[in-house]
């Protein structure tokens, strides 16, 4: 690697990497600003786009200990010893880039990029197994999705910085600090924002989701009843509801047929069900909000994941017509959105091909891991062909790629998920979106958010005093506020609750929808553990049973010594998933 001449592809842009001269961020060098890395994650993401070849070259310079190359390079970037400059594309590369929006879009396009796309130097050789090929491609596409989203966030950060810089120049004229907010807000309003549209869509999507729910409800009813009311209802749905939806979205109604809506929905759902992609988009929304410092977005942060996916798909399906109408001058955002939609479509195609894995219980997973561990011990003396294919591939790579130890170790670690990781993963999926018709009902499950073991005593006590929930949402002051003791206890309750719910649905023929509104059903389960499920705080009372209050007239919280060895779980039917999800769950005595 010649110093100052390495060019690599990251977030769809070309970058120039140079061992730094100790320049501070914000220095107007010949290549413009060095790329600002705001945290270790963004550095790690950037390094993830480099080939092992580039990494090994960088490690020679920045890592005296070869085993920790990644961390040393990361540190060098964070400390400003290694700067990454966004740069204009060298003339020789321009044509290649223009012909290829994303390097992975096609094999031919990839070959055009061969000279500078570091991925092509990678010694990785895909396994023969078809499923593994699919997995590898999914990873690449997800990485590209992450990159496109990261690009949007970084652009937003750069814009924010520019705005602040411009304001600083004005501040010499005696502007007060308080005006910055207005100044920034004004400029943001003038330029619009990616999430502005998503938020608008988010509002409409509630109509949109209603459309889907009604559609599904009608379809479900059609198998049981065949009266005229159904036909009339369906006609109304197709004519009035669809028109309302597409008009609100800003699309030309004639461009969005029922078939397209259905197609977009099924693709969006497929992607939304993919946990890894959903997490990427969730993080994007959070990062985007951070970049903008706009607090009002926080209210949609959790719930906009599906809407973001849906919006990207609509941008592709309608050729972006709706987005143009709504985004106005922000054509750049539109192209990113379309790019995102294309990548999501590509991923959806692959996901369709992946056979659904049999779901394992935590216990089965643990047994499987233990079995693997037992096998590993005497494995050295056993026949090598007993190793499963992925491990064999790792071994092969190890011999071919001996100076890439860190990466090897990381990939092995990733494959070996501990049960605590599985617990966390399961808990992260506990609170799911809901689809009530009544707007006063919760749009998202919140059992984990309000009662999870991560919540604190102070948060639970505050609930009793002010009604503010651990998630920060304002609720009703509650007479009791409980939380799970551990993530494992929470999972135990969730697993038992799900089993009980399924049994009761089977035995009691519980309806899914009542009067057009998704139904709810509650179950109670008991813990096997001596310590029970959780702990709680209650309102302090006097001897007559009346609530004690402090001088401000607020309730006084106190710890309830009672053992909470049961848990209540309240489920709600989710029409688009044809599944019951928890609305809330909490430990009880």
């Amino acid at each position: 690697m010649t110093e100052g001449s390495t060019v690599t592809d990251c977030w769809g842009e070309l970058f120039y990497i140079t061992p730094g001269l100790g320049l501070e961020l914000g220095f107007d060098g010949p290549q413009g600003f060095p790329l600002p890395f705001h945290n270790e994650l963004s550095v790690a993401m950037f390094l993830g786009t480099l080939s092992s070849f580039d990494l090994s070259l960088l490690s020679q310079r920045f890592s005296p200990r070869a085993l920790h190359a990644h961390k040393d390079i990361q540190r060098a970037i964070i400390r400003g010893r290694l700067l990454v400059f966004p740069m204009d594309m060298p003339t020789a590369l321009v044509s290649a880039v223009q012909n290829n929006d994303r390097p992975n879009q096609s094999a031919s396009a990839q070959s055009k990029n061969k000279a500078f796309n570091t991925r092509n130097i990678n010694t990785y050789s895909p396994a023969n197994n078809d499923l593994e090929c699919v997995n590898r491609t999914q990873e690449v596409i997800r990485s590209d999705i992450r990159n496109v989203l990261q690009q949007i966030v970084e652009q937003e950060r750069i814009e924010s910085r520019k705005i602040e810089k411009a304001y600083k120049n004005k501040s010499t004229l005696g502007k007060t600090g308080a005006l910055l907010q207005y100044y920034r807000k004004g400029l943001h309003q003038a330029t619009e924002s990616f999430l502005t549209w998503v938020k608008d869509v988010n509002d409409v999507v509630s109509i949109n989701q209603r459309l889907l729910r009604m559609h599904m409800a009608v379809q479900a009813v059609s198998h049981i009843e065949t009266d005229n009311r159904y036909e009339l209802y369906q006609k109304l749905l197709n004519a009035a509801e669809k028109k309302e939806l597409v008009e609100a979205l800003g699309f030309d109604p004639s461009l969005v047929t029922t078939g397209k809506v259905t197609e977009v929905y099924s693709l969006a759902k497929l992607i939304h069900d993919d946990h890894a992609t959903r997490q990427i988009i969730k993080h994007f929304i959070q990062n985007y909000i951070d970049a903008q410092h706009q607090l009002e977005w926080s209210e949609i942060a959790g719930g906009a994941t599906f809407e973001t996916i849906l919006t990207a798909f609509f941008a592709v399906v309608t050729g972006g017509i709706g987005a143009i109408a709504s985004l106005g001058a922000q054509a750049k955002k539109l192209s990113q959105l379309k790019k995102l939609g294309e990548l999501l479509s590509e991923l959806a195609e692959l996901l369709k091909k992946v056979p659904k894995a049999r779901k394992r219980t935590m216990r089965e997973q643990k047994e499987r891991e233990d079995k693997k561990e037992r096998k590993k011990a005497p494995k050295a003396e056993q026949k090598p062909e007993q190793n499963p294919p992925p491990e064999k591939r790792d071994k092969d790579e190890e011999t071919e790629n001996t100076n890439d130890d860190t990466i090897q170790e990381e990939s092995v670690d990733q494959n070996k998920k501990t049960s605590s990781q599985l617990t966390q993963e399961k808990i992260s999926k506990a609170d799911q979106p809901l689809e009530p018709i009544n707007p006063n009902k919760a749009m998202h499950g919140h059992g984990n958010a309000e009662h999870g073991s991560q919540t604190t005593q102070i948060q639970q006590e505050r609930r009793i005093v002010t009604g503010v929930k651990p998630s920060g949402e304002l609720g009703n002051p509650t007479s009791k506020a409980s939380k799970f003791l551990t993530p494992e206890a929470e999972i135990e309750a969730l697993d038992k609750g799900r089993a009980k719910l399924e049994q009761e649905i089977k035995d009691q023929n519980i309806p899914t929808i009542i009067n057009g509104e998704p139904n709810r059903h509650a179950v109670m389960v008991e813990s096997n553990k001596r310590e029970g499920f959780g702990e709680r705080w209650i309102r302090a009372k006097d001897s007559s049973g009346k609530n004690l209050k402090n001088e401000n007239g607020s309730f006084i919280p106190q710890k309830d010594p009672v053992k909470l060895n049961k848990a209540k779980l309240i489920y709600e039917y989710v029409p688009s998933k044809n599944k019951w999800e928890t609305v809330t769950y909490f430990p009880v005595e």
């Binding site: 007479s479 506020a481 009542i514 709810r520 049973g545």
Partner: protein
């Protein structure tokens, strides 16, 4: 329908729809309370054999704040309808709304 199953139906209804975690902050708003009451009536009427029995029970609850079922419903919901005056008036409005809807149906 016996009293026990009627009581269980009411407890299930209140746990699923009126728990402090679930009920919206503006539930005491007249329109919101009315919608909630209508929805409750529609659900309850499906599980009770005689709606008149339910109406009668609800009237007893309104008339007797310290009724043990009022306490049970407060336990289910973590809202002390039976102790705090503000909550009691809201709760009474809800029960009246359910009765009204059942009677009109």
């Amino acid at each position: 329908m016996n009293l026990e199953s009627l009581t269980e139906s009411l407890k299930h209804e209140f746990l699923c729809y009126y728990h402090a975690d679930l009920i919206s902050v503006n539930w005491q708003d007249k329109d919101v309370a009315y919608t909630l009451a209508c929805e409750s009536a529609a659900r309850l009427v499906r599980v009770v054999e005689e709606k008149e029995d339910l109406i009668e029970l609800l009237k007893i609850l309104i008339a007797n704040r310290s009724h043990s079922l009022n306490e049970s419903l407060a336990e289910e919901t973590d809202i002390e309808w039976n102790i705090e005056d503000d909550d009691w008036y809201g709760y009474k409005t809800l029960l009246e709304g359910i009765i009204k809807t059942l009677e009109e149906d």
